[in-house]
């Protein structure tokens, strides 16, 4: 997994509407990337449902949150609608998992992303990263708030 303190690899991925989101375009704000295995798997549902509920708190702190999986934009769109969530979902579909691999959270055996969180500072440097021990462990949203509190910008 990518180490805190290193520059986050830039990426440009389509979201659920096919619109491209690049890391460069998010420069200047703190970004939390939520890598997850697949749309429509029941555990992901809980994770994004809970994160959806804290979105206003995160946005209040100027933090943007983006989900990433190897699913297509069409799947993401349907998944968003199914869950009733507004968190943008980026598609690392083609070339498959290229960005996931660059962040070092690809599960070669299963062919999907590990469940992982990566926080990138406004300067594009990785502030914090966390990978679940297994696909069934869902990282609590408290970890994000803890990381935010710890990673207060150095004056």
């Amino acid at each position: 997994m990518i180490e805190p303190g290193t520059r986050a690899p830039d990426f440009a991925l389509p979201d659920q509407d096919g619109d491209e989101v690049s890391l460069a375009s998010l420069r200047g704000q703190t970004v939390v990337l939520v890598f997850y295995p697949l749309d429509f798997s029941p555990v992901c549902t809980d994770q994004l449902n809970v994160y959806q509920e804290i979105l206003p708190d995160l946005e209040g702190e100027g933090v943007g949150m983006y989900g990433i999986s190897v699913d297509s934009s069409f799947s993401h769109k349907a998944f968003q609608r199914e869950l009733g969530v507004s968190i943008p979902l980026l598609t690392d579909f083609h070339p498959k998992a290229e960005v996931t691999k660059r962040f070092g959270v690809y599960d070669e055996e299963r062919g999907v992303a590990q469940r992982a969180l990566v926080m990138i500072g406004p300067d594009g440097v990785v502030r914090w990263a966390y990978a679940s021990q297994g696909p069934l462990e869902i990282p609590g949203a408290n970890l994000i708030f803890d990381a935010l509190a710890q990673a207060a910008p150095v004056a």
Binding site: N49, E53, G140
Partner: protein, 151 residues
């Protein structure tokens, strides 16, 4: 909070629309524990969850929180507004006040505060119970139940 003074403290984060939560709540009721209930509604998954949490709190403002709580978990197939009115009538609540309260800002904030406290404590699934500050996600296992029964 309900339960005998001095009994072990169990904090339950749950959602009235979640069947696993109903099961967990029924298990806790059979144990001599001090039971604290905190709302953890996830509306994108359970569309009525927040409304039901607010209904329980509104009943609480008339001193009948646990009665409404039990009535909600006892019949999760009947959670629309008319079903809430029926419960309120059965509990002899002031219906007009119940209707006003369950939609008021203070009640919504109370429920939101519970949810936020759960998030900060690392809750990611319902039910999650805390015993001695340790989180136990899901329906409590036999080992935990036995430990609480002995305590």
């Amino acid at each position: 909070m309900r339960g005998p003074a001095g009994a072990p403290l169990v904090i339950e984060y749950a959602d009235y629309e979640c069947p696993y939560c109903a099961r967990t709540d029924a298990m806790l009721e059979c144990l001599a524990v001090r039971h604290v209930f905190r709302h953890f509604p996830v509306p994108s998954k359970h569309p009525r969850a927040r409304a039901l949490a607010c209904a329980a709190e509104a009943a609480g403002l008339q001193g009948r929180f646990w009665d409404m709580h039990d009535a909600l978990f006892a019949d999760q197939g009947r959670i629309d507004d008319p079903h809430l009115w029926e419960r309120a009538r059965r509990l002899e609540l002031d219906l007009a006040r119940f209707e006003r309260d369950r939609r008021c800002e203070a009640v919504a904030e109370r429920v939101a505060r519970d949810f936020r406290s759960g998030v900060r404590a690392g809750v990611v699934t319902t039910p999650t119970v805390f015993v001695d500050g340790v989180a136990h996600p899901g329906i409590p296992g036999a080992e935990l139940v036995a430990r609480l029964a002995r305590a």
